[in-house]
Symmetry: C2
Subunit: 239 residues, 2 copies
């Protein structure tokens, strides 16, 4: 169904805007996303509830409601200063991993840009699963969704801890400490969990204790790399 | 000199706030930065004009004015939601490169977070120089400064183009095209320029034409990596 909305007070617009808050995302199990690339990935995964766009979008199933809105309304819905032209509501659906051999564990990642970028990178390096610790930023945060560039609609993601993998997987912790081996020396098992820690506080003590191997990227002149950059370097090597 | 400021109308505060605008940064050749880590790196480089903090900072030269301010004023000065406790004014000083062998060229990078992260990563991998194209985001943008984590105070950076390096350096372009070689096959010369392109539009045609070699990071499932992540993977390999 295609419908034109002209008023900001329209109940669909109000509902969409409510999804900017974590509380309403949790109640409705839905979230906001945007860009045509993300929409394409979300459609493949059958999670699109409805779309808001400046003009009609071709190739969308009739069962998905299409709302044609003004630029002003689109700007309100979007979290970008210059929205690309489409915002949509998607259902939270857990994508089941086909296997659980190559796992990325995100230990208290707090920056949504880093979280989204790490999910995008895990998909690019064909990881089976991303496990996100309870205290990390919500994966349905708008900035996470945006910076994942659609990967949120294709990557299996679970919220949880390391327990299920401790006896079966090699536990690789990224840690700039003296007893860490250099990335080039690392031998990777078939089943592994790669752990990346918080931007300021690093990897939690429990995660460190679980480590089968500690690994570091050799750097100079500065204390650390951005966690999404370090994650990219590690995943490019370990996959 | 240490002085307590209680009013938001104070002229030092007003001056500092004016530096949030590109126009006033250009006129005064100064910019705002924050966090103790950045301050430490800026002090080493003798570019600190004055500091604004909640309490006195030890170990700062008497010639640098220290302003003690309220939490409310610090929040106004800071670009973070929860400021770490210090904001400072720094002078724009071009750091001369010791040599110009390993160069990163940023071709129309528009996201300040990516720009800052790439400068931080170039410093970590001991690059000699970062060249930023004219149409890239200003390196003195607050978000660039913040995400560089102090690297802006240690990394030689120039605004310019490829011309000076075309006849002397290997020109490596990161490009996801069919005729690009895989990163593992790349042989790097002593003198090279690594080019990274715009987040949406990639590397400019002129840069592509200048390429001695095109290189790609093999990925699956998704069109591209974040440019700062791709830059990290490339710089980890090429340095």
């Amino acid at each position: 169904m295609i419908k034109v909305i002209t008023s900001k007070e329209n109940k669909q617009i109000k509902f969409a805007l409510s999804l900017k808050e974590n509380k309403y995302r949790k109640i409705n199990k839905m979230f906001l996303a945007e860009t045509y690339k993300s929409l394409e990935m979300a459609l493949k995964n059958n999670v699109v509830v409805c779309t808001f766009s400046l003009c009609q979008i071709e190739g969308i199933n009739d069962e998905i409601d299409q709302y044609i809105v003004s630029e002003e309304i689109l700007k309100k819905l979007s979290s970008n200063v210059s929205p690309e032209g489409v915002v949509f509501i998607a259902k939270e659906v857990e994508i089941a991993p086909k296997k659980e051999e190559k796992i990325l564990y995100l230990d208290h990642i707090s920056d949504p840009g880093n979280m989204g970028t790490l999910i995008r990178t895990a998909l690019a390096f064909d990881y089976d699963l991303v496990v996100v610790s309870e205290n990390s930023v919500s994966i349905y945060n708008e900035k996470v969704i945006n910076s994942s560039k659609g990967a949120i609609f294709a990557m299996p993601i679970k919220v949880g801890d390391l327990t299920p993998y401790l006896s079966t997987h090699q536990i690789i912790v990224s840690l700039l400490s003296d007893d860490s081996i250099s990335l080039d020396e690392l031998k990777v098992n078939d089943k592994f969990v790669l752990i990346l820690g918080n931007e300021s506080h690093g990897v939690k003590r429990e995660s460190k204790r679980s480590a089968t191997v500690k690994v570091k990227i050799p750097i100079k002149n500065i204390d650390s790399l951005n966690v999404a950059v370090a994650g990219g370097i590690l995943m490019n090597k370990i996959h």
